[in-house]
């Protein structure tokens, strides 16, 4: 057990180190940074949806909340360490409250989706309408649809003058993603993660076995939100502006698409889905022949119809088929019920 864990951690570190070394030679670090951030955002939903069975339509709410928290705190504090921590904590607390309300109310799948969607919309509508000068938190004016520009970006902790930007910022984000990935791995290996998967498979059974299902789902939901909030704060640093579009339905939709395309029930799938589709969008944005949204939509429809389990499991199955018995036996139970609670 511990040996396989050590091997997996080592493998993750080696592969990610190789990727962090090689990728900047292929794609500019400015683009790569946002791909890494989106990867983290995809991972946040992949964790709660793929392993917890919680389909959250409002992951963008936590992303936006993280970004706004960072921006507002950075303007008021003028240093980036505490705002970064707040950007993780605020969405987590918000999600814990929202999750407690939903999970202790025993809301079903669809209702959960709708409530998270509605909460995202409320935030979007509210932030969008805060253009007036009366909407301010400390020194930070919320700015409505114009967003908040001009806040302090990431600096070396303790030295507000030493900004981290450009290539070093890419390395910071990439390392952050690797750390989050390892933490998620650790979480899923722990008994908490195993119980979460058990709840995904059969909520009633886990409840009857004596686990507090609602509490565990709430905690998992909050952890997902914390990761999304971190991604939001990193995004705010990258874009150097936060706008209400972070909360939009389109953003929420995209996160779900990333997870579907990459593959649910895997850790790496949502990251690859996010980075891959975001890069595809970037490439598509350079042509004006076919509308961008159209292609995103087509991808989603085709995946739901033909590859409902996503790329990563499909590729894994293909590799197993090609290499015959060399691989491990497919873990059938793992994915069966992910999508339907």
């Amino acid at each position: 057990m511990t040996r396989t864990v050590a091997r997996e951690v080592l493998l993750t570190l080696v592969v990610s180190a190789l990727l962090i070394w090689i990728l900047p030679m292929l794609i500019g670090t400015y683009t790569l940074t946002v791909l890494v951030i989106y990867g983290m955002l995809g991972l946040s939903l992949g964790l709660i949806w793929g392993f917890g069975g919680i389909l959250c339509f409002g992951q963008a709410a936590f992303f936006g909340l993280g970004a706004y928290t960072y921006a507002i705190a950075a303007i008021n504090i003028g240093e980036s360490t505490l705002p970064m921590l707040l950007a993780v904590a605020v969405p987590a607390v918000f999600a814990a409250l929202l999750g407690a309300m939903m999970f202790y109310g025993r809301l079903g799948d669809v209702y959960l989706g709708v409530i998270t969607l509605v909460v995202t919309l409320i935030l979007f509508k509210f932030v969008n309408s805060t253009a007036g000068p009366q909407y301010a938190i400390g020194n930070a004016r919320l700015g409505g649809f114009n967003g908040i520009p001009g806040f302090q970006t990431l600096n070396v902790p303790g030295d507000p003058g030493a900004y981290i930007w450009g290539d070093p910022y890419f390395y910071v984000c990439a390392v952050a993603l690797v750390i989050v990935f390892l933490l998620v791995t650790w979480l899923l290996r722990s008994s908490f993660g195993r119980v979460a998967v058990g709840i995904r498979e059969n909520e009633t059974r886990m409840g009857l076995m004596g686990y507090d299902v609602a509490a565990r789902k709430t905690v998992l939901f909050a952890i997902g939100a914390a990761i999304a909030g971190l991604a939001g704060a990193l995004f705010a640093n990258w874009a150097e502006i936060v706008t209400p579009n972070l909360f939009s339905l389109g953003q929420s939709a995209e996160i779900i698409i990333w997870c579907i395309v990459g593959g649910l029930g895997t850790r790496i799938g949502p990251i690859l889905g996010a980075a891959g589709l975001a890069y595809l969008k970037f490439l598509l944005g350079q042509q004006s022949l076919i509308d961008n949204t159209l292609i995103t939509g087509l991808i989603l429809v085709l995946f739901v119809l033909f590859l409902p389990r996503g790329l990563a499991p499909a590729v894994a199955a293909l590799i197993r088929a090609v290499f015959g018995r060399a691989g491990r036996k497919p873990d059938l139970r793992r994915m069966r019920r992910v999508r339907h609670g």
Binding site: R106, V118, L249, R339
Partner: protein
Amino acid sequence: MDLSFVILVEILYAVASLVLISAGLAVVFGMMKVINLAHGEFMMMGGYVTITAVGLGVNVFVAMLVIAPLIVGLIGLVVERLVIRHLYGRLVDTMLATWGLSLVFIGLATMIFGNTTTGISTPIPGFAVGAYQINGYNFFIIVVSVLLVAGMYAVLRGTRGGLIARGTMQRADMAAALGYSPDRIYMATFFCGSALSGLAGAVLAPLVGLVPTSGGAYIAKAFITVIAGGPALIAGLVSSAASFGVVSQIFTFAMSPVIGEVALLVAAVILLRAMPQGITARLFRGKL
């Protein structure tokens, strides 16, 4: 006196437009259990069909009440055959597939009509009540939605087709055993649902400027209205539209339209938390 009349009309109008927005979804989601996230885009297409038809010289009422529902219904039919019918019973998958479809429709509309706002003027003039000006078109919307609900009730309650449709949605295998084809009935019901969405989009089009992404404005409202309504189709639709319409209008009058919208959404969250199965699961049980 004048003010209270104006407020009453505004509240009725808010309720009526909620009914209109949600009627198509009530059929597709409430009856068929297909989570149609492309509902707003069906409405958007209804609006574009109307504007295009009016541009070609068709009478605006014919365009709104006949052409738009027909064409959007046909589009819905194609969508059902190509995508939806593979996904019946897979709730989450229909949700994702229709979300994809909505993106496809937005993309197509952007390519065809461009990303600018288009619109037509309201065909009914306003009139004055005391010191206030009332939009005459609001009355038209109230009348249309009353007729719509009455029509839906008549069809589902009174006709053989409505009975067969309701029966099939409850027990498709039993309907099949009695010699009806569930496949066709699902198809026809989806057609009706999309046609209703098209009608709603067409009727609301003169009030709002249309952009390809207009659908997004309706989708959340439609969903919470239908879900908060609960299992009974028409009683649920009317009761939840009434509660949300009143709440949002009161807050709109007291504070601002944005607060009104937010109040509607907050009311929905509270209502769903209190009655997770919707209003008609607790009140008006056993009604249609």
